[in-house]
């Protein structure tokens, strides 16, 4: 796609001026509403005071999506999967779009059924991952809660989260007629053998060439090193935010974490991302120091495995918080902290091989069990909910065995909860609440 200066100006203005101004306006509107007379008879909230950082989070994400509306034609645009080494694209000035993050947003806004219906009519089965259906539905209809998504110049998918993304991005490549780069990270049993690492390394080198060609620019080693350093620091900061929940009470809820993960997924490798997490970490640490909890009365601490049920996060967290249960850790949010520990600015490509191959979803079940065990111990949980996510087979296969092992080895209560991360039609709220309630009663 040809790029113009006028478009570039629109893109910069949207990102630097309009986005923050819009977020400030929204904030002021909300404040004014809050200052009005309180609603009579409103039940007192089971949650602790809201996090100040949330406002900044909204600003950051609003700005990101707003700038995105003007990105195509201004800068190179890549659509990337959440586990893709975006650090390589940043020095080339790519605007990165994360269809998974966008699909999560669609789920929170409850527009998944409408978008999915559109692709189901074309022949996509409802049994496919709801992220993919949502994204393809958005592409097909042009509907999105963020106004507009920029068209990609390059599609980048990494098989380290699943093979589903490969099929999904093949369909996108056929639709947009743009190059698809697949970073193939062979699944790890125990340790990745040498020839797998060589393969991933060779692909990363191929990626540099393709990304440069599409962007019309070369990757400068010092720029790459700087981005990788920022990305590494960002994942560390994210890890520090999560680690605050080792305290009792945890200063926030695991469900909060699902939303605050957005910058490390979509803005990894940018200063804005790191500045945000510094602020969040400091706020959480301050809450820990003052004994302020994410819920008012933390009596039980739980682990959550798998993606969130985006469209019912609020409902579930309220149900649990009202009874003194908090998800203090989740394998999903932890994944982004863990991967970053391997990133090394001194060896951007070599360390990316290790970091991006050893993602939780790209490793065998003994490794998954180890992570769950470790999280359970580090965060002193007395129970776990394994979300059996109809849409995400790679994350869900094995959970029935994992449940038994966790319960037996750690002597904790474990529930396998059938749901879907994106599509409300695949989940009965009543049944889910019934199962969660019975689970909580078993702690009595």
């Amino acid at each position: 796609m040809s790029r113009s200066i006028g478009r570039r100006i629109e893109f910069e203005v949207a990102g630097r001026v309009v986005g923050p101004a819009l977020a400030a306006f929204e904030r002021a509107k909300k404040l004014a509403r809050r200052r009005g007379p309180g609603r009579p008879g409103k039940k007192s909230s089971p949650f602790g005071p809201p996090l100040e950082a949330t406002r900044k989070l909204k600003e950051l994400m609003t700005t990101h999506y707003l700038a995105g509306r003007y990105a195509d034609g201004a800068v190179p645009v890549a659509w990337v999967t959440s586990g893709f080494p975006v650090e390589i694209l940043r020095p080339l000035g790519y605007h990165a779009v994360y269809p998974e993050n966008h699909a999560a947003l669609c789920s929170v806004q409850r527009v998944v059924p409408e978008l999915s219906d559109a692709v189901e009519k074309e022949g996509y089965a409802r049994d496919l991952c709801s992220y993919a259906r949502t994204d393809l539905g958005s592409v097909l209809t042009g509907k999105t809660p963020v106004g507009r998504l920029p068209k990609p110049d390059l599609l980048c998918c990494c098989t380290n989260i699943c093979q589903t993304v490969l099929y999904w991005y093949r369909a996108l490549a056929a639709h947009f007629g743009v190059p698809l780069f697949v970073l193939d990270t062979p699944y790890v049993y125990g340790q990745a053998p040498g020839h797998h690492r060589t393969y991933v390394r060779a692909q990363l080198e191929e990626l540099v060439g393709i990304a440069e060609r599409v962007a019309g620019k070369r990757v400068e080693p010092d720029e790459l090193e700087a981005v990788v350093r920022v990305a590494r620091d960002g994942t560390r900061l994210w890890g520090e935010c999560l680690a605050q929940s080792r305290a009792r009470p945890a200063p926030w809820t695991g469900f909060d974490g699902f939303f605050h993960i957005a910058p490390i997924v979509t803005l990894r490798g940018t200063e804005a991302c790191n500045a945000y997490y510094r602020m969040l970490r400091d706020e959480l640490a301050h809450r820990v120091a003052r004994g302020v909890g994410g819920i008012r009365d933390e009596r039980h601490r739980l682990l959550w495995d798998n993606l969130p049920v985006w469209f019912d996060v609020r409902g579930m967290s309220t149900l649990l918080a009202e009874r003194g249960f908090n998800f203090v850790c989740t394998s999903y949010t932890n994944a982004w902290a863990e991967a970053g520990s391997r990133i090394d600015p001194a060896d951007p490509i070599g360390s990316a091989v290790l970091a991006y191959t050893h993602i939780i979803l790209n490793q065998d079940l003994p490794n998954r069990l180890d992570i769950l065990r470790r999280l359970s111990r580090d965060y002193s949980v007395d129970g776990a909910v394994l979300h059996s996510d109809r849409s995400c087979k790679p994350y869900s296969i094995g959970q029935i065995d994992l449940k038994q092992r966790l319960a037996r080895e750690l002597d904790i209560k474990v529930l396998v909860l059938e749901a879907d991360h994106g599509d409300p039609r695949a989940y009965s709220v009543e049944q889910g609440e019934g199962r969660l309630t019975a689970f909580m009663e078993s702690f009595a």
């Binding site: 093949r170 699944y187 079940l365």
Partner: protein, 366 residues
């Protein structure tokens, strides 16, 4: 029957059997090492043990049934199992059954390159072949001899050539679909030389002119189960003129005219990239649609049947494109979805019969 055959292969030829999950794998390595590959497409029917419950009901029947089968001990005639990395579900099964119980004998994985034909993928494919060859040689208790591998490549080329002749000459072949698919699928577990003998005997039934009457259909999908589908098709007055099943047609390689066997591993890599496009090998979607359109045109099919397994992501992601491709060609299309039943359901039978009736009325003359 299969158990008796495996036992005979072991007793008479000293060949160990290896259970192999779908779909693509370098069978030549097995042949060269005198290992009998016995493919496990489920098997069809209800799961044979409660272990199927260790994976959720939204995982395909192939994986649920395979888990139940392996954990029940019914595959114990095999000395090892191979999991090609066909999809997320087989990948999950590979770790579940070997790490958390169900299979304690040796297991191997074969991870295809998923990034298309580029230099890194080629180099990786060769190294992955080498790694599997080493593992299998350990199981066989003998080193892999290059000459043996060359012989195996030649043998499998003859098998492919015979299969291609039968499929491409379908109209002139005096076998009905039930017989043809039974024959082709015996290659999933017979020793390759035994299979070749049967195939070559069948090629003798290719006549000079068309013998198939009825409406010709192109069939695409995962695995031709249940076999009764072909009985229904035949009774309704149709026959399969072109096959694009992952289990059948997509595994018939029509190699470049001169295959260089100096380095048999390179020859295997060459064949891998020459195989028909298949989503389980991450083939590009646009290229696959072009291939299907060409297959349709060339075969003179009067209609298309898309026959998939429920919950099968690699296949289901292509269905929209498949439908669009054939709609663009003005082809009539029937979509069927199954879960490895042993019989075609009454509803599916009725739909199939109605479809054949419709296309028969407009059947093109080849």
């Amino acid at each position: 029957m299969r158990h008796a055959y495996i036992a005979k292969q072991r007793d008479e030829h000293g060949r160990k059997a290896v259970a192999v999950l779908p779909v693509h794998y370098p069978k030549e390595l097995f042949t060269a090492l005198d290992l009998l590959a016995v493919e496990m497409w489920g098997p069809p029917g209800a799961p044979v043990s409660a272990d199927a419950g260790r994976v959720q009901a939204y995982v395909c029947a192939v994986v649920r049934n395979a888990l139940a089968f392996l954990a029940s001990g019914r595959a114990d005639a095999c000395e090892a199992v191979l999991f090609p990395h066909t999809c997320d579900s087989i990948q999950g099964l590979a770790t579940l059954v070997t790490d958390f119980g169900g299979w304690s004998k040796p297991s191997f994985v074969f991870q295809h390159p998923r990034g298309g034909p580029r230099p890194s993928s080629r180099a990786y494919y060769l190294s992955e072949l080498g790694s599997l060859a080493d593992g299998l040689a350990g199981l066989a208790g003998r080193p892999l001899e290059p000459e043996k591998l060359r012989e195996a490549v030649r043998l499998h080329r003859r098998i492919d050539a015979a299969r291609a002749a039968l499929l491409d000459g379908r109209r002139r072949l005096a076998l009905d679909d039930v017989e043809l698919y039974r024959l082709l699928r015996r290659g999933e577990w017979l020793w390759p030389e035994d299979h070749l003998a049967e195939l070559e005997a069948a090629t003798a039934r290719l006549g000079p002119s068309d013998v198939q009457r009825g409406a010709p259909v192109l069939i695409t999908g995962y695995v031709p189960e249940p076999g009764t589908l072909f009985e229904v098709l035949c009774d309704a007055g149709a026959f399969v003129v072109a096959d694009d099943y992952a289990a059948v047609g997509r595994r018939v390689v029509r190699p470049p005219a001169a295959l260089d066997l100096a380095d048999p591993f390179h020859a295997l890599a060459e064949l891998y990239w020459a195989a028909p496009p298949c989503p389980t090998r991450a083939s590009d979607q646009v290229g696959r649609m072009r291939y299907l359109a060409e297959l349709y045109r060339r075969s003179g099919a009067a209609g298309v049947i898309v026959h998939e397994q429920k919950f099968c992501e690699p296949e289901l992601f292509d269905v929209a494109a498949v439908k669009k491709t054939f709609a663009g060609l003005g082809a009539k299309l029937l979509y069927l979805e199954g879960e490895l039943e042993t019989e075609l359901s009454g509803q599916a039978t009725t739909r199939l019969e109605a479809f054949v009736e419709m296309i028969a009325a407009t059947a093109r003359v080849a």
